[in-house]
């Protein structure tokens, strides 16, 4: 068992190697480094604290159990996200199967993209709102999206996966990811503009 001390800089590959060799401290360190990102993603997809907690636990338990399957061809976090996304989607499908479209079903991709609010933003939201207020506004905006858009936005724009990785994880075509991403971004822009627009600038429609 390795007894190498952990360097102050986070060395993912070394921690994974130590964890694979059975070093529990190394695995715990990986957990403490990534748990908040996994939990945030789980919460954004499932919209629910209890489900997010289940996803968090299952993700790390599965990661631990299958650590030998991780060959290091991708970043450890990408591998972890893949497990977490599957867990989160399972929760979502289980809960929502009776009331929303399945995530892999083609959805309307017409050209009527939503653009009603056209107003410049007052100031940088970061300068106007506290961190907590801003986090609440952003969370609510994401959670107001339909699951089909929300999942794409979370993976691509928050987790910063590539279009190809997002498509692969969600079982969607590249073009479906692109059109959903456009919708998601425009809908979020719309919602945030309502919140952040310069006072006195009323919305007007175009297109």
């Amino acid at each position: 068992m390795s007894t190498t001390p952990v360097s102050p800089a986070f060395d993912e590959a070394a921690l994974v190697a130590r964890a694979k060799a059975g070093d529990q401290d190394a695995f715990n360190e990986l957990i403490l480094h990534y748990d908040r990102r996994v939990f945030r993603m789980a919460k954004q997809i499932t919209e629910n604290d209890d489900d997010a907690e289940d996803v968090l636990q299952e993700t790390f338990l599965k990661a631990y159990t299958h650590l030998n399957d991780f060959q290091g061809n991708s970043k450890f976090y990408t591998w972890l996200v893949r497990i977490a996304v599957n867990e989160a989607l399972m929760k979502l499908r289980k809960r929502r199967s009776d009331k929303t479209v399945p995530l892999d079903e083609p959805i309307d991709t017409g050209e009527d993209e939503v653009v009603r609010e056209i107003a410049v933003w007052d100031q940088n939201p970061e300068d106007v709102y506290s961190r907590e207020e801003l986090a609440t506004i952003l969370d609510q905006a994401v959670q107001s999206l339909k699951a089909a858009y929300r999942t794409v936005f979370v993976l691509r724009d928050i987790e910063e996966l590539s279009i190809e990785e997002t498509a692969e994880m969600l079982g969607l075509s590249i073009s479906a990811v692109k059109s959903r991403l456009l919708r998601a971004r425009l809908q979020l822009r719309e919602k945030l503009t309502r919140q952040f627009k310069k006072k006195g600038e009323d919305a007007f429609a175009y297109l």
Partner: protein, 90 residues
């Protein structure tokens, strides 16, 4: 000259600059001449920026404690090392 609708459909490609220079120039010309599309483009970029700048809040203590306890239990159940033996599906 592009219509606003055509511009909007290419908005992501414009923001991410994933088109060839000629197509980008055409989109740029539209957004330079169309105040509405300029604002939509600008506020979309700001939307992405504000999300990217979002800090990841720590996992609530109770949830983290339960996670660590579950992992600890798994370690113990497997004799301290989950990786030297078989992989178990639940």
């Amino acid at each position: 000259m592009l219509t606003c609708k055509q511009f909007l459909l290419e908005l992501n490609s414009y923001i991410e600059k994933t088109l060839d220079p000629q197509e980008l120039a055409e989109l740029h010309r539209h957004v330079s001449e169309c105040p509405n599309c300029f604002v939509v483009c600008d506020t979309t970029e700001k939307t992405l920026r504000v999300f990217k700048g979002m800090e990841c809040q720590p996992v609530p203590k109770g949830i983290q404690a339960r996670l660590m306890a579950a992992i600890e239990k798994r370690f113990k159940d497997k004799g301290g090392c989950g990786c030297s033996g078989e992989t178990t599906h639940h």
